[in-house]
């Protein structure tokens, strides 16, 4: 939970709370991807993340 609170504080300090609904949506989708994948492995391609 501390990460969620930290992230909220961060977005608040950046005046970007408008990203929160989007973030929630992304977290749901992302969570589903995590569950469907089984393991979290960086893809063997060039990425900017």
């Amino acid at each position: 939970m501390s990460m969620v609170a930290e992230l909220f504080d961060f977005l608040n300090s950046r005046k970007k709370l408008w990203l929160v609904p989007l973030l929630a949506l992304f977290l749901v989708f992302g969570g589903l991807f995590v569950l469907s994948q089984g393991s979290v492995v960086a893809p063997f391609i060039y990425t900017l993340f």
Binding site: E6, V34, P43, F49
Partner: protein, 616 residues
């Protein structure tokens, strides 16, 4: 104040330790794990830094990570939003990684630190520094300047891709930034990808390929791909790139513009690829020069500090030097992300320790604070002998440094390739005479031998010279310190050899086989060389070796290439050096005072090294 800096989780993980502003130790994780560009938490490098500083973990005042994960996440979210619904495939790959790991980086780092020592893992000790601020700090704080313009350029950190700052005393103030997706580093990487090299690793190959080509696409790049302003600021036309939303650097529009799909890795290189390399190199130089000139004019600063991956483009650096935009230039030797660990540590040390900067004194002027970049592990003579014996090596021990230098210099003058493992390992991507393979630059066959029989790498790639600082202007069109091999200059006219008409007509790589100077092994096809000046005060043994070689041959220059084969991290330990020696055609290995001749080794210890590593 003792500060530990860490870079990790992307590529080139590293750790660095700074005590009261003095750089004590720094190393990349890949050197310990033997996994090139290792992105894992730098556990081994961190332990080494603590050992080298001889301190208990509890005495570390701050631990600092080189970038801010939340800010990077913000960039990702906003980028996906801006391009939606495009980018779903990238989103699908990125989100599990972030939700599963990267958003929890604070906890991950604390957990890893706890595994090293519970005393290190205090939440209140942990700091995060912005990526480009880390780069800026890595360039300014160790520089020999009281005041300077600090220019950082790379692919991307959080949002920033290019930043300009003023460093003054112990403070750095960012004055300008260019933000993602507009990035000089990513533009260069797009061409790296398109010409079939690995992104974040093959950029220097593209730079080495450029002199074989003609910049015929320069105008096309400037017309279609990038809107370059007079002051060097720029915007990319994202219609030609895929990196914002996809899993590749370029797209079909890019293919259409340059006449076909990207080259596949290891496919034949053609003149087309060489022309592309020459073109993007010319554009990069133009951008860097415009940025440097406009910032010089705007700020009035006379000293320049450079860092970020683009600062490893030594050809562009050489252009900035030659155009005399600034009086003096300092380039951080670990200019890539590994150096971010050092910069982050220095930034926090100066901000929270309120330190006064003191510039180390060199023989004639202040020296930079990087200690020659010899910041990695070293091994005592007893340890070397014990380790080599355990590895099954057969060796003789030189009586003293003088005898060691004499035997090595003789072998070099006889045309042998020598593995040279001495003192502390270098920090950064270059070998600077402590973990190096050395050769005679006068030999017309040395370049080919080193590339094909020792390094097992592409035949077009040039080698760099190490030259005595006091002799550099006798051999090259350069008369400043270049201790980190980050400046390119031409071989002096009186050492060049004119090419015949038939030789001039040779195509691309064939030109490399024509001896174009008295030191053909280190002269590129455009007569340039990536120079390392060797200084008696930072590396007396290596300086002594080149001096003796000069007495024997009249040439104060050696070929210096990193001690590894293609795809292998540079050797760290005596065992790594012995393994590499037994896996390729190095004739003589010198580790500390131990001298190993190939003919005396047990043939059963020879190994197939050529295919031992994934190609880079």
């Amino acid at each position: 104040m003792i500060v530990l800096g860490i870079s990790a989780f992307y590529h080139d993980s590293a750790a660095a330790l700074v005590r009261d502003g003095e750089v004590i130790a720094a190393a990349q994780e890949e050197r310990f794990t033997r996994n090139k560009h290792d992105p894992a938490f730098p556990l081994n490098a961190l332990k080494y830094c603590l050992d080298a500083a001889r301190i208990e973990p509890a005495r570390v005042d701050r631990v600092v990570f080189y970038e801010k994960p939340f800010l990077k996440f913000e960039r990702l979210l906003e980028t996906y939003l801006a391009f939606a619904p495009k980018g779903f495939s990238s989103f699908r790959k990125a989100m599990p990684l972030w939700i599963g790991e990267k958003l929890f980086q604070r906890d991950m780092i604390l957990q890893e630190l706890k595994a090293v020592a519970p005393d290190l893992a205090a939440r209140e000790k942990l700091r995060f520094s912005e990526h480009h601020f880390s780069h800026a700090a890595s360039a300014f704080y160790p520089s020999p300047f009281e005041e300077a313009l600090v220019l950082t350029m790379d692919g991307v950190g959080e949002w920033t891709t290019t930043s300009a700052a003023i460093g003054r005393g112990n403070a750095i103030e960012i004055i300008k930034e260019i933000h993602f997706p507009h990035s000089l580093g990513l533009l260069y990487s797009a061409f790296t990808y398109y010409t079939g090299f690995k992104v974040n690793s093959g950029e220097y190959k593209l730079m080495g390929l450029a002199p074989y080509g003609t910049p015929v696409f320069k105008d096309l790049i400037l017309e279609k791909l990038i809107d370059l302003k007079a002051d060097g600021s720029f915007r990319l036309d994202l219609d030609y790139f895929d990196y914002c939303t996809g899993l590749t650097m370029t797209n079909r529009c890019f293919d259409g513009l340059f006449g076909g799909p990207p080259r596949k890795p290891e496919e034949q290189l053609t003149q087309h690829h060489m022309d592309l390399a020459a073109s993007i190199q010319a554009v990069t130089e133009e951008i860097v020069l415009r940025l440097a000139k406009s910032l010089r004019e705007e700020t009035g600063q006379t000293n320049l500090c450079l860092a970020g991956g683009v600062a490893l483009n030594c050809v562009a650096n050489g252009k900035v030097l030659r155009e005399a935009v600034f009086d003096r230039i300092f380039i951080q030797p670990a200019a890539g992300d590994a150096g971010g660990a050092l910069g982050a540590a220095l930034a926090v040390a100066h901000r929270e320790g309120d330190l006064k900067r003191t510039l180390p004194q060199g023989p004639t002027a202040p020296r930079d604070g990087m200690k020659g970049s010899y910041l990695g592990p070293e091994f005592t003579q007893d340890e070397v002998e014990r380790r080599l014996k355990a590895a099954g090596a057969v060796f003789a021990v030189a009586a003293d440094d003088e005898s060691l230098i004499e035997q090595t210099a003789q072998a070099l003058a006889d045309g042998q390739a020598v593995g040279w493992h001495q003192g502390r390992m270098e920090f950064g991507p270059r070998s600077l005479g402590n973990r190096s393979i050395l050769g005679d630059p006068r030999s017309p066959t040395m370049q080919k031998t080193l590339n094909l029989k020792i390094k097992y790498r592409e035949s077009f790639r040039p080698f760099a010279p190490s030259v005595l600082r006091e002799k550099v202007s006798d051999w090259f069109e350069l008369d400043v310190d270049s201790p980190y091999m980050l400046l390119v200059a031409d071989v002096r006219q009186d050492h060049r050899k004119p090419m015949s008409e038939a030789e001039k007509a040779l195509f691309g790589i064939d030109k490399l086989n024509v001896p174009r100077s008295d030191i053909p092994a280190v002269t590129h096809v455009d007569d340039s060389a990536r120079i390392q000046t060797v200084h008696a005060d930072t590396n007396p043994l290596y300086h002594g070796l080149i001096s003796r070689f000069a007495e024997l041959t009249g040439c104060p220059v050696l070929v210096n290439t990193s001690f590894n084969v293609r795809g292998e991290p540079i050797v760290c330990t005596p065992e790594d050096a012995f393994r590499c020696f037994m896996g390729c055609e190095i004739d003589l290995l010198v580790v500390g005072r131990c001298i190993l001749r190939k003919s005396e080794q047990d043939p059963a210890l020879a190994r197939d090294y050529k295919n031992a590593f994934t190609l880079d």
